[in-house]
Symmetry: C2
Subunit: 483 residues, 2 copies
């Protein structure tokens, strides 16, 4: 004991900073550990979390959900107008948007702008003022894409006449949908709704969509997962970088286009649009990821995250075990690179359904595959590798279909476990574009953000309640813990 | 002194192994350094090397040669039959092959097979026996591609009616040529010469070449260096992996093909051939590299390597300062992966002009860009990074046009300095395919090899003699050393 007091103090501090402050005032050397108690340090939430860790009901459910995710085989099978693909759209004036549900009054600029554009495209109003009034006064239903098996990047707006990619999971027969990518610049998904934007959307439904539909009929279904896997070997993470994947898709679809018998002029125009848009594959990647995550959905008691999506105000997640319930929190800020002339003050909050890619183990989770992405979202290639490694500690496993060359072909971390996120305080990383807060300005940067912790804490609470209710109703089911 | 003898011996041994052997017999701990004296330890060669190091004539020449290499802008400008592109071919029965000069009798199986195929293609003989006799009896001139501004992979056989890519360096107006890539399997470049092979070659000159020529006329010249640079960001090293580069080329050429007014059937067939051959860009990469290296050629006193090429028996190099002289040695073995059913005993010696890619700073020098290449040539992604790093110590500089994402966008090592190779004992690394030693079996593996040291030692000797002769003739030019 006397020896102890003779030694120089060497202190590791975790938890309250004030302990370290006092020791440093007394000239002791203190290393501060970045640690906080699980589940945001809320005692009740911590107890809920503890009740779920290693719980056999949850473990078994997660195994099932994760296996269903791994078994999914998303195939691009068709192109259809939204009104044909989504039954609700044929029945009423319905426009879909990205993220969790949100009322018109609360929506951010880009989403409002995109909805106005969609109303004009559908001919439900003749001018911007009338279109905005229609939306404001409830003349159009506004619902999340995710409520209709669909996803859309940024504003994510889908209206009945827009063409959708139809992706079918050949393992369970279910469909997932996404809209078409418009390219960069002034585009609907960033809230632009001028004549050029509407003209491009009309061209997409009148020229592009029938051509792709015919090409798919000629080629047969296209397996999307192997295509994504190849792109991961070619510098894409298939969220913010899709240059290789788009090239691979072109190699599949252009020969098929040439087999359609369509007029040469149409084939030329479609081919030109594809080669000019390195982001074209993004929406296919998203639909494929949606298809894979839907395969894992609705397994009671599973803590696997099946949706992460943003509406420009809130970030929302869904767990497999809690079904259609959204757990929401204000979106975290984006750390990124702004295009010249723009800064943080110009940015909308994080937006879009495209975080479905991270939910499925690609995007930010596969950043190690895409060192060149750091030129777009910031950081260094080493940071990209670290993001991919860190995600291994919050997932149920990894996906052998998606390997990372820079990590010696290790599979990507996949199947986010809400328990691990809350327990370890490590948030899912998301590569994301940054929209201007005003409708129609467009993309002003790109960067990296995270899913906010309160979503996971609330989800854990709801799941714990579900487990408690179940055990209450079935008292014979002894709670036995696996190790 | 007494203290010294009391200490445990701790020995680093460099040079003769027998010192270490004896010490180990006496139970001393010895660390053996992998070192050998420069220039293979030959005293005269070592003195020649010493005479060139930091020599102002050489330094200035290297600066000029390297600057001309960096300034080169290879553009794909046209497609022409070899007889139109290469004047000597119109004048006499001439067939080109890869590597340094070699007589028919000494040639390896695949090169002989390819020459027989070319003679049949040209109609200079009606059957294999007559074709072989013609070649054996000197009825056809056999000369290196490099003697006619051309390069070809593996056997590298070019005959008058074959179509060539015409690449022009817009910085100096000079042309470089390469043949077309036939894809994998039974192909002329591996010595196959059956009816299928000849039919494909005929299709290439009758259908593919006119279509590409027309597409180039429609698109205008295509800059190749930016395309290669982009491919380095997408997992290619543009020697053994050209999947991304081929995709990027398809994105440029197919829209142009659709603008040619050619029959749809021809456009379909050409597009199909392009999308089915991930190696299609290899020959364009080689022609671009040849164009860049020719820009650095023929600068008196420069020790920069401008050619590395193999004829299936010998490996040959050329220095800028020694012009058209070849320095040859038997090719080093290839360490690699064999396709199932094949092994070292089946392999031909290292073959082809494709090491022009390494000479230009890509291929093995840019392996860090291509972690997935190790699935093809062996090793790990970490090995690939190490190869790229190690090459920095034998080059005059690096090429800012070609950056390596995995090395935080460091430029590739480029401009091999024969002095540094001989001085440091580090050999240029080359990614290479492995041909079966018998004509026509085809590719049986791929791996990594090196350029043999005697080529560099001989080249250093010749360059030193050149410098001595110059100083003898111009005694007023004092030899002053730069530091």
């Amino acid at each position: 004991m006397t020896q102890l007091f003779e030694q120089t103090l060497s202190v590791l501090n975790c938890g309250l900073a004030s302990f370290a402050d006092n020791l440093e005032l007394a000239n002791a050397e203190v290393t501060r550990l970045a640690w906080q108690p699980p589940a945001l340090g809320e005692v009740a939430a911590g107890l809920d979390l503890a009740s779920l860790i290693a719980h056999p009901l949850v473990e078994q459910a997660n195994q099932r959900a994760f296996a269903q995710y791994l078994a999914a085989q998303p195939m691009l099978v068709d192109v259809k107008p939204a009104s044909e693909a989504i039954a609700a759209m044929a029945a009423r004036k319905l426009i879909l948007h990205s993220g969790p549900p949100i009322a018109w009054a609360q929506m951010c600029g880009p989403v409002k702008g995109a909805i106005v554009g969609a109303i004009l495209l559908e001919g439900w109003a003749d001018n911007h003022e009338d279109a905005e009034r229609l939306a404001r006064e409830g003349g159009v239903s506004l619902e999340p894409c995710h409520h209709h098996d669909a996803v859309g990047p940024m504003a994510g707006v889908i209206s009945p006449s827009m063409p959708l990619f139809v992706v079918q999971n050949s393992a369970n027969g279910r469909h997932a949908y996404s809209n078409f990518n418009e390219g960069l610049g002034k585009v609907l998904r960033f809230g632009a709704n001028g004549p050029d934007v509407l003209a491009r959307l009309r061209w997409m439904k009148q020229t592009l969509a029938p051509a792709l539909k015919a090409a798919l009929a000629a080629s047969g279904p296209i397996e999307l997962r192997p295509l994504m896997a190849q792109a991961l070997q070619m510098g894409d993470e298939v969220h913010n970088r899709n240059a290789a994947a788009t090239g691979l898709f072109i190699k599949r679809i252009v020969p098929a286009l040439l087999d359609t018998g369509l007029p040469l002029e149409q084939i030329r125009a479609v081919t030109q649009a594809l080669v000019e848009n390195d982001h074209f594959f993004l929406n296919l990647s998203m639909a494929a990821c949606k298809s894979m995550m839907d395969a894992a959905a609705a397994v009671p008691f599973s803590s696997m995250v099946t949706v992460m999506a943003r509406n420009g105000v809130n970030f929302g997640i869904r767990l497999s075990g809690t079904g259609d319930t959204w757990f929401q929190a204000p979106a975290n800020p984006v750390e990124g690179l702004f295009f010249p002339g723009y800064g943080v003050a110009d940015a909308a909050a994080d937006l879009g359904d495209s975080a479905i890619t991270e939910t499925a183990g690609v995007g930010g989770f596969a950043m190690a595959s895409s060192p060149a992405i750091v030129k777009f979202v910031g950081g260094t290639p080493a940071d990209a590798v670290n993001h991919s490694r860190r995600m291994q500690s919050i997932t149920l496993g990894s996906n052998p279909a998606f390997t990372l060359p820079a990590l010696n072909f290790a599979p990507t971390a996949a199947g986010i476990d809400a328990r691990k996120v809350a327990d370890r305080g490590i948030l899912p990383v998301i590569n994301t574009g940054i929209a201007h807060r005003l409708a129609g300005v467009g993309q002003i940067g790109a960067g990296i953000t995270t899913a906010p912790m309160p979503c996971f804490v609330d989800a854990i609470r709801a799941l714990a309640e579900q487990v408690r209710a179940h055990l209450h109703a079935h008292p014979h089911e002894q709670e036995t813990r696996t190790s």
